[in-house]
Structures are given as structure tokens and as C-alpha cells.
Amino acid sequence: MSDTPRSRWSTPVFTIGALLFMSPILWMALSSLKSPQEVTAYPPKLLFTPTAANYAELFGRTDFLHNTFNSFVVAGASTLLGLVIAIPAAFAISWHRMVWPATVSLFARMAPGTLFLLPWFIMFSKLGMAGGYTALILAHAVITMPLALWILLPYLDATPREIVESGQIDGCRSGTILIRLVLPMIYPGIVVATIMSFVFSWNYFLFALALSGFDTKTAIVASFNFIGEGTTNWGALMAAATVIALPPLVLTFTVQRWLVSGLSFGAVKG
């Protein structure tokens, strides 16, 4: 695999494929520039006069900017928390080929999300945490943590055992081995885990719907405000959806080069 084929047609084929893959997203972004009546027009309007009215509505009449900020706080913190907890656990699970902790980590992903709403609301209310960021971050961390953990497992499985053993022979503590020797080898995995965790937390609306307070509502929860009898506004809804989709896309665009560059097969293995 050291010689990457650069055939003449690969770039155009992938570009067309990418456009097809993205067409619903492009449709969404275009719709956000249409009037509410034009969005559902049939046949679809390909030529139209773009309007910024939906974005004006979004940022002018609602707290969407603040909601987006809340999303950043919750998604950022739960991603970080999830990674910090998942990395050592994944290391131990991979090293000892354990089954049960890998299973337990997914407990919160086994029952329907709705099962947790009322108990968590009661629980966090009793603790005085309902409506605050902490409750939301914890609720989202049980999504991000197992996600990161399972994503890291194959990377850790692929790490040569000799590296860890050499560290053990040198008498390093497990924590030191993990941070000094293992982490640098699995950083593509950490990049993937970070993207995934952020995206999952950013997009998850059910827990925030029930647990957020007046000031901590996330963008995805707020975006539902554009549907209602006599008030359905497809344009503004698509504008909200477009704004929500941007940060994960920018994040992926930014980090995907680290995911690949210089990492042809086995480069990390030395």
C-alpha cells in the first residue's frame, strides 16, 4: 500500500460521489435560503432569489446564538470527560481482553433514551443539579464514553504488546506506559473518537429536552421551535439545521488531515 494509485479518474469520480452523498445536505442548505413557501414547492425550485430572512429570524427572534454556545459547552465537556475516562479503561480492556467492562460501559446505550428522562430528572433535581450544565454533561458523557472506548479498542489491540512490556520491564507504572508509550501510537484513534463523541453529543436532543433549563437549552432542542400548527417555517428550520451541521463539519474538515497524513500503513509501527 506504499504506492498510492493516483489514477486520472479517481478525483472526479470521488467528487461526483461526494456530491451525491451530500445532496440532501446541499438541499438543506439551499432550502435555508428560500422562503417558507418555496421549500416545499413542486416541482422543486432550482432557481430562486436567495433570502437571508430565515437566518435573520433565527438569530434575531430567538436565542439561537446562546443555544449554540450551550451546545459547545455540553458537547465539548462531555467529549473531554468521555475521553479521559475511556482511554485508560480501553487500555486495560484491550490488554487483558476483558468482556464485561466493555459490556457495562454500554449500559446507558441499551435502554431507550426515554427510559432515563424521568429518573434522571428526579435524580438531578434531588441533587440540585437539574437545569444546569453538569447534569447535561454527565448525561451526554454516558453516550460519549462507551463510544470513545469502543473506537479505541481496535487501535489498542493493534499496538504491539512488546511496547507495553518493554515499559513494564523498565518498571514504569501503567499510567506512565499509557501516556508516554501508548497514546502517541493511537492518536489517529483518538482523533476519530473525538470527532464521533463530539458529533453524537452535539446532535443528541432527548436528554437536553428533558434536563436542560431555561438558560442551558442546546441548539438542537431549540431548532424544534419552527414546527407547529399555523407556524411551520421550513425555511427557518433548515437554517437552524444548517447552522447545527456546521461545527461538526468544520471539526472533521480540520482534523481529517491528522487522521491520514503521513500515516500510510504501519508508519506508527516503526
Binding site: A41, A210, G230
Partner: protein, 429 residues
């Protein structure tokens, strides 16, 4: 109609008396939390809340959600015993008995009788039927903010072009639809809700007008009644034979998109959608609005009419400040303001008031819309599924399933309707 107007006159006279003495600033500095379902009313009211804070000193934190999300959050908060929530919106025809039995509504009766109520508020000004929607047992549990119901929207121009009479009776719908189809194949003759859980509201009048009901003469729940079967059959077969493709996934958004874009000739859809509809190009000129035609054979015209209401949470620790907000939001002044923006008022005085009438006289559809609302608010019923104290949503789901079977051609109306007798009877206790 006469009673309606007389009521209004009395109300107007009663108002000014002791208005000045009421202390709106008694709860100055308090903060209340308000949760609202996203309706046109809500959108307009949100812009006015500042005025309430200015007048009373009460800070309002309002959050809005679309209906499904609203219910999920509201249920969680109330079941979780949250005392944070002070005021919420409620659909009494759906949930009043259940919410009341759970203690989720504050009893407004003592507040109404106390000094916490502005003497000018005049609770009796709300139309009697709407007022009644919020009464559970002896207790007033909520105050109506609007009046609404499904109305018959039809395209005058298409009917004229195709030389079709506007259906005089409900039974005439298929013939009219047939003619329209023959005359212009680009037009879908009929559209209506078919999505699960949403069918009951536009279906109700079909059942009543065809001589049906949701229980038999002995008060036992059933859909297996001759008139009911006819109503279900007509609703289902209109969608099946003359409706748009994919109707079983349609709710008000799709129905109104189709009608607004000029692709459908008639429908039975919520009066709340009227303002949205008028924003579509050309519809002001060609849309006709009326009450759904009555039944020829039965001689019955019994449309569906409901209202959304505001309630004070039974768990609120600031019930009086919350009640101040409800009073203000449902007060005559606010209703007058909203009425001229297309929100049908629940107060008789406002409904018959000059502002609303003038607004309605500005275009023909507006006038027709107002007349239709007036009629359904007097002849309408808020019951459009098997009567059940606490299991109304389930009853509506069963209705939807029956209709979907007819639309999809999986069963005829009689088979589908009679198969669920045990189920609907189980809902009654």
C-alpha cells in the same frame, strides 16, 4: 348567535367599573417560568411578554417547543414533581381529566373569586362552551386562549372552472371530487390528515354528520355503529380514491403545503392554518372557507371545535404570580391585539368586537373564516374520539389505525371499525 352577542354586550358593560384599583404590581420582582406549545398564538405572544414585565415587574422566562417535544418535556417535569414550572399550555379536550387527577393543574376557582383577580378580567366573557372545557368537577383548571376547529377549505376557481357546485352535503364530496378529477387531472381533488395519531380531529365531523357517534345509545363505546361506519368509510375512501399519494404520512403541514401551492381542490383542516395559507400566492383570491357540509341523510351538522388553554401548575410555588400572567395573557386587551393578527379569540366580547370584525372584513376569505368559526363555536363538539377520562390519546390512535386500514385498502370500514370494539370499550372505565 343571539346569545353570543347578548353575552358580549353584558360583558362590555361590566368591564370598566373597578378597574383602576387592581394592584398589578403586587408580585413585582418575582420570576415565573412559562412553557408554551408552538402555535401562532405563542409566536405573537412571545413578542408581547415584555409589556407584561413592564406592567407588573414580574419577570417571565418563557420556553417554546413544538407539540411532541412539548409533551415530552412537560410530562417529565410534571411527573418529576418540578416546582420550577409555573404556567403551561394545555389541550383540555385531550388531557384535562388526567392532568387534574394527577394534581398537575392548580385550582383557579379560589383565585378567580379572590382579590388576585382584576375586577375587569370578567371570566364570564369567555364563551360558555370554551370555559367548560377547563372545568373538571367543580374546579376551573385552565383558561381558553383561542378557539379553533377543522374547516372546509375549497378552491372557488377550480370549482367554477370545472362547473362543480360546492358540496351542499357531506355525501356530495365524492361526486364533486370525481368531477374535478375528470376536468383537471393535475389537481388532486381532496387532501386530509392520515398520519397516525392525527386523524381524529378532522375525522370527527365526518362521523357525526353521517349520523354516527363514538358510543351507542346505552353509552357503551363503539365504532361499530351504522353512522360511524359511514363516516369512517367516507373519510377513508375520500383519501384512498381522491387523496394525494402518501396520505397516511400526512398531517397539517403536508395538507397545507398542498393546498397552499394550489395543488388540491378541497380539504378539512385546522382554522389555525388560515393565516399561513393566506401567505401563499394567489390563495387570498381563490380560497373559500366554510363549515364542513352537514349530512343529507342524518340532517346533522356537528363540527369539531376545541381550544388551547393556559393552566397554572399545581406544583408551582408562585401560583398567584402565575395567575397574574394567565390573566394578562387571556385579558381582553391582548386578545383584541392578537385577533387582528388572525388568532380567533376565546372571549365573546373580542370575537364580536369592532377590531376583529374590521380585520375580517378586509378580505372575503377572512370574513368566511370568521363566520365559520362563529358557527362551529356554537354547534361544535370537542369530543372526537371514544370518550375516556384518562385514555384519550389511545382512543385517537385507534381511530387513526382504522382509517389507515381503509385508506390502504387493507380492510373495509365495517370490518376495521367493528374489529376494535373490545379495545375502545376497554378505554371507557
Amino acid at each position: 348567535m343571539r346569545q353570543f352577542i347578548i353575552g358580549a354586550a353584558v360583558a362590555l358593560v361590566a368591564m370598566p367599573a373597578a378597574a383602576q384599583e387592581f394592584d398589578w404590581r403586587k408580585h413585582d420582582g418575582e420570576t415565573i417560568n412559562v412553557m408554551l406549545n408552538n402555535l401562532a398564538w405563542t409566536q405573537l405572544m412571545r413578542d408581547r411578554i415584555e409589556a407584561f414585565t413592564e406592567a407588573t415587574g414580574i419577570k417571565v422566562r418563557a420556553e417554546t417547543f413544538s407539540e411532541e417535544q412539548y409533551r415530552t418535556r412537560l410530562t417529565t417535569l410534571l411527573q418529576g414533581g418540578s416546582s420550577e414550572l409555573d404556567v403551561f399550555m394545555t389541550l383540555p379536550s385531550r388531557e384535562a381529566p388526567l392532568f387534574a387527577s394527577n394534581g398537575w393543574y392548580a385550582d383557579l376557582t379560589p383565585l378567580l373569586k379572590s382579590e388576585a383577580t382584576d375586577p375587569a378580567y370578567n371570566y364570564d366573557d369567555f364563551s360558555a362552551a370554551l370555559r367548560q372545557s377547563g372545568v373538571v368537577g367543580e374546579a376551573v383548571t385552565s383558561v381558553p386562549i383561542n378557539v379553533e376547529g377543522p374547516l372546509f377549505y375549497w378552491r372557488r376557481d377550480i370549482f367554477e372552472k370545472c362547473d362543480v357546485e360546492k358540496p351542499e352535503y357531506l355525501e356530495d364530496l365524492p361526486a364533486a371530487a370525481e368531477k374535478i378529477r375528470a376536468c383537471d387531472s393535475a389537481i388532486t381533488p381532496w387532501a386530509a390528515r392520515g398520519l397516525r395519531g392525527t386523524v381524529g380531529y378532522p375525522l370527527g365531523a365526518f362521523v357525526y354528520n353521517m349520523g354516527g357517534d363514538f358510543m351507542d345509545e346505552d353509552g357503551k363505546a363503539s365504532l361499530c355503529l351504522p353512522g360511524t361506519i359511514k363516516g369512517l368509510d367516507l373519510y377513508g375512501s375520500m383519501l384512498r380514491d381522491y387523496g394525494p399519494p402518501g396520505a397516511t404520512n400526512h398531517t397539517f403541514t403536508q395538507v397545507m403545503d398542498l393546498l397552499g401551492q394550489g395543488r388540491v381542490a378541497m380539504t378539512n383542516e385546522s382554522s389555525n392554518e388560515f393565516s399561513t395559507l393566506m401567505k401563499h400566492e394567489g390563495r387570498v383570491e381563490d380560497i373559500g372557507v366554510d363549515v364542513l357540509p352537514g349530512g343529507r341523510e342524518s340532517g346533522i351538522s356537528k363540527p369539531v371545535v376545541i381550544n388551547w388553554s393556559l393552566a397554572v401548575s399545581g406544583l408551582s410555588e408562585k401560583k398567584e404570580a402565575a395567575w397574574y400572567f394567565v390573566q394578562w395573557a387571556t385579558g381582553a386587551e391582548n386578545q383584541e391585539e392578537l385577533a387582528t393578527q388572525g388568532i380567533a379569540p376565546s372571549r365573546v366580547s373580542v370575537f364580536n368586537g369592532e377590531g376583529f370584525r374590521n380585520w375580517a372584513s378586509e378580505s372575503r376569505p377572512r370574513g368566511e373564516w370568521l363566520e365559520a368559526l362563529l358557527e362551529i363555536s356554537q354547534t361544535g363538539s370537542s369530543l372526537y374520539q371514544t370518550p375516556s377520562l384518562t385514555r384519550t390519546p389511545e382512543a385517537r390512535e385507534i381511530l387513526s389505525n382504522v382509517v389507515q386500514q381503509i385508506v390502504l385498502g387493507q380492510a373495509d370500514a365495517e370490518t376495521a371499525a367493528c374489529a376494535v370494539t373490545d379495545e375502545v370499550q376497554a378505554l371507557q372505565n
